[in-house]
């Protein structure tokens, strides 16, 4: 049985797992692997939210954990999976240049995130305070992934991973936002992915590819 005292270290372990997956995402080539990693990130979020809910005794957090499970572990990966099989992009991979450099930049970002949140996390009264830096690091790493990748689908997964980091920040710093807001955010996210799904088909119809190199015609001349 998990005691309340051991929850802090456990959460830190989960947070590290989240960070590790973010690094793994930076180095994965195949889109399908990325979706699996994204689902794993969702699963860790679900576990950590449950832990925080247990330790704080806030029932509201169980709802938001359930929301995470449904949306981020099941629904979104499933939609993305369907999308790539419909687009015939299961085996798509992209050539990544300079994985070591990307990793090094990632490391710098993590240090930066911790430095930035250091003065703030000492203010927190929640047991989860040290994880704020991890959350910001996950956000920044997802951002890095969006910058370095050239495929439309990969960028979207980066975008969703960024949202995971935000959600983790919300639970770790504040025990979660009010339920109304969380529902609103989840709805926006879901609608966003639907719109992207429509979008992918439109892009492919026009360009015969989901490579973003084609989307660089609108430049200043």
């Amino acid at each position: 049985m998990v005691t309340r005292a051991s929850i802090g270290p456990l959460l830190n372990v989960l947070a590290s797992g989240l960070l590790l997956i973010s690094f793994a995402m930076l180095s994965r080539r195949r889109t399908q692997r990325l979706i699996i990693l994204f689902a794993w990130q969702g699963a860790i979020l679900f576990l950590s939210t449950c832990l925080v809910a247990y330790s704080s005794g806030l029932t509201e957090l169980y709802y938001s954990a359930a929301l995470t499970l449904i949306l981020k572990v099941i629904l979104l990966p499933w939609i993305l999976h369907r999308l790539i099989s419909k687009l015939g992009a299961q085996w798509d991979s992209e050539t990544l240049v300079n994985i070591p450099t990307t990793m090094l930049v990632g490391l710098v970002l993590v240090i930066f995130a911790f430095g930035l949140t250091q003065p703030i996390s000492t203010l927190a009264t929640t047991i989860t305070r040290h994880t704020l830096g991890m959350a910001l690091a996950v956000i920044l790493l997802a951002f890095l992934m969006m910058i370095t990748r050239r495929k439309a689908l990969t960028q979207v997964i980066g975008f969703l991973a960024m949202e995971n980091g935000l959600f983790f920040a919300a639970t770790s710093a504040t025990y979660g936002m009010p339920m109304v807001i969380e529902l609103g955010i989840a709805l926006d996210l879901l609608v966003g992915v639907f719109i992207l799904g429509i979008f992918f088909f439109q892009i492919r119809e026009q360009f015969d590819s989901l490579d973003l190199h084609h989307l660089e015609a609108l430049k200043e001349d």
Binding site: I120, L123, T125, A169, A173, I181, F199, Q206
Partner: protein, 483 residues
């Protein structure tokens, strides 16, 4: 009650138009819903004038002089754009760039977009504000890519990703704000994200957290304002989307995003003092004004040209809010109004001008006065107004901003003057040959609805010549709220 109408009517419009948007009468239905929303907004304004600020719906909605004026402006421009869009979209359909199914999407999303903006303006909850801003982005993404051309898809993709990432930063800001507020206000009663409650305790919020939160807010919502260097999506989205969408994006969405930034600024200033927020707003503002003005020169596409002009003007407004104080805030609010009215009227004429010429490339648009004097003169007068020629209202607000800057921050004056001068030469030099000279453009198959253009310009003129005392008092009250 009025708030419910303002929010509910566009939502009802979105559902109705999703069902009937493909019929012949859909544009009229769109106009009808926009008119009803305008009437509801007018009722709301009357109520606020009579009874003062109010809180409704378990404090979730909030109206004061600051947001009610934007609600009125949004409803008005939303209505006139719907009038303009009626013949415009019919011509597009005739030209074969759209079919009735896409028109259904367009009409429905137009109303949904209006609803999202009203929600962003009226909500008292900083979290809901974020949700509404994101909803406003989502509802316009498919509008930008409405023509399904390669360029429009690229523009919409850029718009989605850049604004999505930007707004994610704003969410982090919101989380930090909640984190700080929770320690003062507690979790009970869910008041920790309500702006009115936060405003009451802003002096007690932890300054370190709020300072960091403001950076994220400014970067996040600033992306949607089109502040440089986060402006990349703006010219593309304005140029490639249908013209009514460009008009509401430029005239309304940018204002709403700036409104969000200012609401955050008021809270943050109460906690960490005015120095950091005002410096940041001034820097971003000046940078956008100058960058926007210089990029104007390189444009060939008429809608891109005015997209960059929007960046320049939003920069000037942001700068004015950064200056702070009653005069600068007054000028900024006035500039928000006149820019919104003028820029939408310019997009109306620019849209019809490119339909008549068959291209958005400015080299191909010549002698508009010969084809249609109303389009030609509308574009000329609109451009003169946006360039700050007296006696238009843009002149008054820019003049006020300039003298306030001279008094408080003399170093900024040359930059502002350079931006204004460069923009003047850039736009005037390009508009003049489009309006006058020889032409081979075709007359339009449907007569364009250009009454809105001249109504907007007349309002801008009136605001420049004589501002009714009641309106001036209203602006002053709003300026005081911002501090």
């Amino acid at each position: 009650m009025e708030i419910l109408l303002v929010l509910g009517l566009p939502l009802l419009g979105a559902v109705t138009l999703a069902l009937f948007g493909a019929r012949r009468f859909a544009p009229e239905l769109n106009v009808g819903f926009s008119l009803a929303t305008l009437a509801a907004a007018a009722l709301l304004v009357l109520r606020v004038i009579h009874y003062g600020p109010m809180l409704i719906g378990r404090e979730q909605f909030f109206v004061d002089s600051f947001n009610v004026f934007l609600v009125a402006l949004t409803a008005f421009v939303g209505f006139t754009t719907a009038i303009f869009s009626r013949p415009y979209m019919r011509i597009e359909e005739l030209h074969g760039s759209l079919n009735s199914l896409r028109l259904r999407l367009y009409h429905s999303m137009y109303q949904l977009f209006m609803a999202a903006m009203f929600l962003a303006l009226l909500t008292n909850n900083m979290g809901l504000l974020w949700v509404a801003m994101e909803a406003a982005t989502l509802s316009t993404v498919l509008l930008v890519s409405l023509y399904r051309t390669k360029a429009s898809l690229e523009a919409a993709w850029k718009y989605f990703i850049l604004c999505g990432v930007g707004i994610a930063q704003a969410l982090f800001g919101t989380i930090l704000l909640y984190f700080a507020a929770e320690q003062t206000l507690g979790r009970e009663g869910m008041t920790a994200l309500l702006w009115t409650h936060l405003n009451a305790v802003k002096g007690h919020l932890e300054p370190r957290v709020l300072g960091l939160a403001f950076v994220f807010f400014l970067v996040g919502y600033g992306t949607k304002v089109g502040l440089a260097p986060l402006h990349n999506w703006l010219p593309d989205a304005h140029a490639e989307g249908p013209t009514p969408v460009s008009a509401v994006l430029s005239g309304l969405l940018l204002n709403v995003a700036l409104y969000a930034v200012i609401r955050c600024k008021v809270l943050v200033e109460g906690s960490i003092g005015v120095l950091l927020p005002s410096r940041m707003l001034m820097t971003f503002g000046l940078l956008s004004a100058i960058l926007g003005a210089f990029f104007l020169w390189r444009q060939r596409d008429i809608k891109r040209l005015f997209g960059y002009s929007s960046i320049e003007h939003m920069g000037i407004i942001t700068f004015a809010f950064g200056l702070g104080g009653p005069v600068a805030n007054f000028a900024a609010l006035l500039h928000m109004t006149v820019h919104s009215l003028t820029k939408s009227s310019i997009f109306f004429t620019a849209g019809h001008a490119s339909q008549a010429a068959g291209t958005q490339n400015m080299d191909g648009i010549r002698g508009l006065v010969g084809v249609s004097p109303t389009i030609g003169w509308g574009l000329m007068l609109g451009s003169l107004a946006i360039l700050g020629m007296p006696p238009f209202g843009v002149f008054s607000s820019e003049f006020l901003i300039l003298i306030t800057a001279m008094r408080g921050h003399p170093w900024a004056t040359p930059f502002l003057l350079i931006a204004l001068g460069v923009a003047f030469a850039g736009i005037f030099g390009k508009v003049q040959p489009m309006v006058f000279g020889e032409s081979d453009a075709q007359p339009l198959p449907h007569s364009p609805a250009l009454v809105p253009v001249f109504v907007h310009l007349a309002m801008v003129l009136v605001l420049g010549l004589y501002m009714p005392p009641a309106l001036a008092e209203w602006y002053r009250a709003a300026a005081r709220l911002i501090g």
